[in-house]
């Protein structure tokens, strides 16, 4: 086993990997940008190395500096997390060239799957169905227009190099294609340093269902079941479930088998996810892409299978065989994850950076929060606004929803807007409870919400209490000109540290 691992990431996923390291008696090494000097992942690590200024191209995307930090710390392996360099084969090769182990798949597999067009070809060759469309990057708007016309609208524009909804645009008709093509290319360039985009036919009432696979260096391939990821906004997942409430065991088994075939075709090693689009109408499934990394939604698979995917990534990278066989995997109950983003759900999910003033995390039975922030932490404008993943488990989907509703009401993030209020409405939505899910869910949900009179759900006494609380808070403020903060607590010498720091300005501490 490794004694020391460098984590080439930040935020909640870096914290998640640090926890796996701790459990394996591995010393975790963090890297950070100037904006993250006091970030949670730095606090929890044994060592931390500054990479550069806040922009990720000058820090978290600097392969040279990350490898220098790994060498300096004496780390034996590098975990890329997800995002940033996680699917960058050049990075994986540079890590290997420096004599370190890359905790992820072989660079060739990353490269094959990293290009969506190549991946489509590989999937077809492995016998997995794909959505009709071009398999080539579109060199110009004219070609995009021609291809779209040939496939028939609506079509989907996608970044060839990436995932996560970035560079992805639904195009309903020819009048939209020019603007959509430009935006998709520009987003793809910003996110993946590659502006290539391609086109696919849009599938009817599509559900996004994906299969978690795992392979080791001894030729063992398993799948850990499916995840339902149909609830998306801007083509980015916000709620994921395991298992899929589609409740079609045959279909999911077929996708599992197809996913393993795709992984084998790529000589895959480690954790990976094969994404499928499933028509809720025809129940046909199509290979979408393979993500050659851990997924944000890995906790729901962990909750249902009991297998720690990050721990397994590390032991497999160290050369151990998988700690379980396909026959060992048992799925128990139902898990749901909500991605807590620093975004305003009442304003089209606009990012909401700023300082987190209060943070109260839900606790108690079968609730798990994988966060990357703390009270006092700054959510900066430089990075993805994902601040935490809230996941719950129940014996049944209904029990999981009960628990999620309870956990969401306990959860408080002050100082910034988050998607929590959106989730609180979702768990009370009849269509969600009835599991009528496809990728159009949020659009329909928003229409239902807009149609409902706003006064309906409001408890007038609670409203009055809220007004009184706001007035008490404001009144208190009006009586002081000093911004210091206090509690019921008695004076204690070490609590004053921050106050002094504040009086002198932030440069003191």
């Amino acid at each position: 086993m490794f004694r020391k691992i460098l984590i080439a990431n930040r935020g909640e996923i870096a914290v998640r990997i640090i926890r796996a390291c701790r459990e394996l008696h591995v010393a975790p090494v963090a890297v950070y940008s100037a904006a993250d000097a006091a970030a949670l992942h730095v606090r929890l690590a044994d060592e931390a190395y500054l990479l550069g200024p806040a922009p990720s191209v000058e820090s978290y995307l600097r392969i040279d500096r990350i490898i220098a930090a790994a060498k300096q710390s004496g780390a034996e392996a590098v975990h890329p997390g997800y995002g940033f360099l996680a699917e960058n084969a050049k990075f994986a090769r540079a890590v290997a060239a420096a004599g370190l182990t890359f905790i992820g798949p072989p660079p060739d597999a990353m490269e094959l799957m990293g290009s969506k067009t190549n991946a489509r070809r590989a999937a077809l060759a492995a016998g997995a169905p794909v959505v009709p469309g071009t398999t080539e990057p579109l060199p110009s708007l004219d070609e995009a227009r021609a291809s779209a016309a040939a496939l028939g609208y609506p079509v989907m524009l996608k970044a060839a190099a990436g995932g996560g909804g970035k560079g992805m645009r639904l195009v309903a008709s020819e009048t939209e294609i020019a603007a959509a093509f430009a935006t998709a290319q520009s987003e793809a360039a910003a996110a993946f340093s590659d502006s290539s985009v391609y086109l696919e036919k849009a599938v009817e009432r599509p559900r996004h269902i994906e299969i978690q696979i795992f392979a080791d260096t001894h030729g063992n391939y398993v799948h850990l079941g499916e995840r339902e990821c149909s609830i998306q906004r801007r083509h980015q997942k916000v709620i994921e479930e395991c298992p899929s409430p589609i409740g079609d065991a045959d279909l999911c088994a077929q996708m599992g088998t197809a996913a393993i075939r795709v992984a084998r075709a790529a000589d895959y090693v480690g954790a990976g996810t094969v994404e499928f689009l499933v028509s809720d109408v025809t129940r046909e499934f199509y290979f979408l892409e393979m993500n050659t990394r851990l997924q944000v939604e890995h906790p729901v698979t962990e909750l249902v299978t009991g297998i720690d995917l990050v721990r397994e990534q590390i032991t497999v990278a160290a050369g151990a065989p998988l700690s379980f066989t396909q026959a060992d995997i048992a799925w128990r109950g139902h898990a749901i994850e909500c991605r807590v983003y620093a975004e305003d759900p009442d304003d089209n999910f606009m990012p909401s950076p700023g300082r987190i003033t209060t943070l109260r995390l839900p606790q108690g039975p079968a609730v798990r929060d994988d966060g990357g922030v703390y009270a006092g932490a700054e959510v900066s404008i430089y990075y993805d606004p994902l601040i935490s993943k809230l996941a719950v488990w129940g014996r049944t989907r209904a029990e999981a929803i009960d628990r999620l509703r309870r956990a969401l009401d306990e959860y408080t993030v002050g100082g910034i807007k988050t998607t929590l209020s959106f989730f609180r409405a979702i768990v009370r939505d009849e269509e969600f409870i009835a599991a009528r899910l496809d990728t159009g869910f949020i659009a329909r949900f928003n229409e239902r919400r807009a149609a409902r009179p706003t006064s309906e759900a409001i408890d007038p006494t609670a409203r009055d209490m809220a007004i009184i609380a706001a007035a008490l808070a404001q009144q208190t403020q009006a009586q002081t000109t000093d911004g210091a903060r206090a509690q019921q607590q008695p004076v204690s010498h070490w609590r004053t540290a921050g106050r002094i720091a504040q009086q002198r300005g932030r440069d003191l501490f």
Partner: protein
């Protein structure tokens, strides 16, 4: 203390007196005798007639002057004002007399400017694209008219509240 609270487009009159943990408040014509405690920063525990209201009071975003209060699953956006003082004038010029300002809602970078000064635009037309937190957001025109001011250039950094475009 007398205040006016605006919430979901409705104004409520508030009168409030306190003595230690005891608070007597009247909202419109509803009178409450309350025990109120500030138990954690930003958290007020209000009890009235056996009912418990754990009020989590926070700022709304920087560009807004409302207070956000969460009670369980309910979130209230409240704007307080003192009726003895002059009413806040509407944010200078915004939305007034057929003019519409497009403001930056958060710090970010202008990646593309789609319109030019003097251009005719329809309501909903994209004016420019601002990137923040790795997402590109199209800023759309709130009304049909002419672009009379344009304060954005591609590559420029903008702060929350900056006026980017004025359409008249």
């Amino acid at each position: 203390m007398k205040l006016t609270a605006e919430l979901a487009g409705t104004e409520h009159a508030l009168e409030l007196e306190r003595d230690g943990v005891r608070v007597v408040a009247t909202v419109d014509d509803r009178r409450y005798e309350i025990e109120a405690r500030a138990i954690e920063p930003g958290i007020y525990l209000l009890q009235a007639g056996g009912r418990v209201y754990e009020c989590r009071v926070g700022h709304a975003q920087a560009t807004s002057d409302t207070t956000e209060v969460q009670i369980g699953s309910q979130v209230f956006q409240i704007a307080l004002s003192d009726p003895k003082r002059l009413r806040h004038t509407a944010a200078a010029g915004a939305q007034a007399a057929g003019r519409a300002q497009v403001l930056a809602a958060m710090p970010g970078k202008v990646v593309r400017v789609i319109v030019t000064e003097g251009a005719q635009v329809e309501a909903g037309d994209a004016l420019l694209v601002v990137e923040a937190m790795k997402m590109q957001n199209e800023m759309k025109s709130p009304k049909s008219g002419t672009v009379v001011e344009l304060h954005a250039t591609a590559g420029a950094t903008v702060n929350a509240g900056d006026v980017l475009v004025v359409v008249e």
